[in-house]
């Protein structure tokens, strides 16, 4: 059980997954999956970006740091990029990121990199469901203490303020 668990109304843990998707292909593909009424678990939050190469690895690091149990990054298939080669640049970056995060102890199953085109609503549904299943099997991600000293002091200060009132 995790105190910041969300998704659904029960107290039961349910994975929280952040998807960073490209506007031109995957977002449209996800839209198609929605309008086609394909059934997907509601654990994925989508963040729409202009291109998969807009995904700064810091986004993913931050998401995992702040308690996302899994991440999805998806864009156009190689060769189909709206900006010609954005996804090829992204591919090199994610290759290193994928290996590095694994080396530093993040399970491979928490990271999904995929190509989903605008017509592949079904592939998006599969990507989402498979990722959720994998993350569910792995359990909640272990988060580290994210609060900095200053934030801590501020919180302590506001608690004192509450008491004074």
């Amino acid at each position: 059980m995790k105190d910041n668990a969300c998704c659904g109304t029960t107290e039961e843990w349910s994975p929280k997954i952040v998807a960073f998707v490209c506007y031109w292909c995957t977002y449209t593909g996800a839209d198609l999956a929605g309008t086609s009424r394909l059934k997907m678990d509601p654990n994925v939050r989508i963040i729409r970006l202009p291109c998969s190469s807009r995904v700064n690895p810091l986004f993913l690091i931050k998401a995992l740091e702040r308690g996302a149990d899994g991440i999805i990054v998806s864009g156009c298939h190689p060769g189909d990029c709206h900006y010609s080669t954005g996804n090829l640049h992204a591919r090199r970056r994610f290759a290193v990121l994928h290996d590095l995060l694994g080396f530093m102890g993040i399970e491979d199953g928490r990271m999904t990199f995929s190509w989903v085109s605008a017509s592949e609503g079904i592939k998006w549904q599969q990507t989402v469901n498979e990722t959720i299943a994998r993350v569910r099997a792995l359990g909640p991600i272990q988060t580290l203490h994210p609060v900095g000293a200053q934030q801590l002091i501020a919180e302590m200060g506001s608690e004192k303020g509450d008491q004074a009132r």
Binding site: L58, A95, L100, M104, F113, H145, A149
Partner: protein, 294 residues
């Protein structure tokens, strides 16, 4: 060594350069030396205790050194890659720096504080980066000095470290790194010493948006090193200065060596001292491996 001293003296006397950056014997072991007077050139030395990568003094941040005038720098083969990296990324121009290369037979893992002047390299004390070094005689230089010494021994203790870590389970690796990073005090020595970390404003210092907390919390330490390694991918020259500078002895060299391995295996790039070879993360190939894509 005489050759090096004479060359430095000549460069200074002829006003070709205003400062020669090299190594000298200090009260606490070998240290970097900034020679501005030809008469001081006799202080310069070079031996296996000269572990430092002096190319870090060419970074644009080092304004106090740039102020001295035109620089001549003493480099080993591994340091020459850093000079090439700075030229490749337009931080310095080739004409504005005189590169004095030394033929190198390997250096120590750690600079001894106060040791005998003569050090023999053994499997125990040699730096792990010297194993199979292909740059003992650099190609990037204006002057090259010294005889080519015999090949360095291969570090016995540290060669298999990465394979050992890779054999662990993910949870074990996570625990290993969490323990290592828990010691980090975010002194930023790894960043300051690195010749390739030269952003005028580091993303780790940005407060809005604050991607990486500036306090040494476990989460922020992990994020900082992850990001540092990603920024270094394909740019790291493998001098292991971050590891040497770390006051908390966090094995940062494991990360740099691992990422260098990934970049070599995936993109076929090894750090080299040719500034015209493009860095791999700015390049693309249509047939890059994508086995990790689901």
């Amino acid at each position: 060594m005489k050759e090096l001293q004479e060359l430095a003296a000549k460069l200074l006397r002829d006003q070709n350069v205003q400062v020669v950056i090299g190594y000298e014997d200090g009260p606490a072991g070998v240290r970097p030396a900034f020679i501005t007077d030809a008469n001081d050139a006799a202080r310069l030395i070079f031996d296996p205790r000269c572990v430092h990568n002096l190319a870090t003094y060419l970074k644009p941040q080092r304004k106090h050194i740039a102020k001295l005038g035109k620089i001549a720098i003493v480099v080993k083969g591994c340091d020459a890659r850093a000079v090439a990296g700075l030229i490749r990324e337009q931080q310095i121009t080739r004409e504005n720096v005189i590169v004095i290369a030394v033929r190198c037979g390997g250096v120590l893992e750690k600079a001894p504080a106060k040791a005998a002047k003569k050090v023999e390299l053994t499997e125990e004390n040699v730096s792990v980066r010297c194993a199979g070094c292909e740059a003992r005689e650099p190609k990037l230089y204006d002057y090259i000095v010294g005889e080519l010494p015999t090949e360095p021994p291969v570090s016995s203790q540290r060669a298999g470290e990465i394979a050992q870590l890779e054999k662990m389970s993910t949870a074990e690796r996570r625990k290993f790194w969490d323990e290592q990073f828990s010691r980090c005090i975010r002194c930023d020595a790894c960043r300051e010493v690195c010749p390739m970390c030269f952003c005028l404003q580091c993303v780790a210092l940005r407060a809005q948006p604050q991607w990486i907390d500036s306090s040494p919390t476990p989460a922020a330490n992990r994020a900082w090193q992850t990001m540092r390694m990603l920024h270094q991918a394909g740019r790291c020259v493998g001098c292991l200065e971050c590891e040497r500078a770390c006051p908390k002895e966090i094995p940062l060299g494991l990360l740099t060596r691992y990422v260098a391995g990934v970049v070599d295996q995936r993109f076929g790039y090894k750090p080299c001292d040719d500034p015209s070879v493009p860095a791999p993360m700015g390049e693309i190939k249509t047939d890059d491996e994508e086995e990790f894509i689901r």
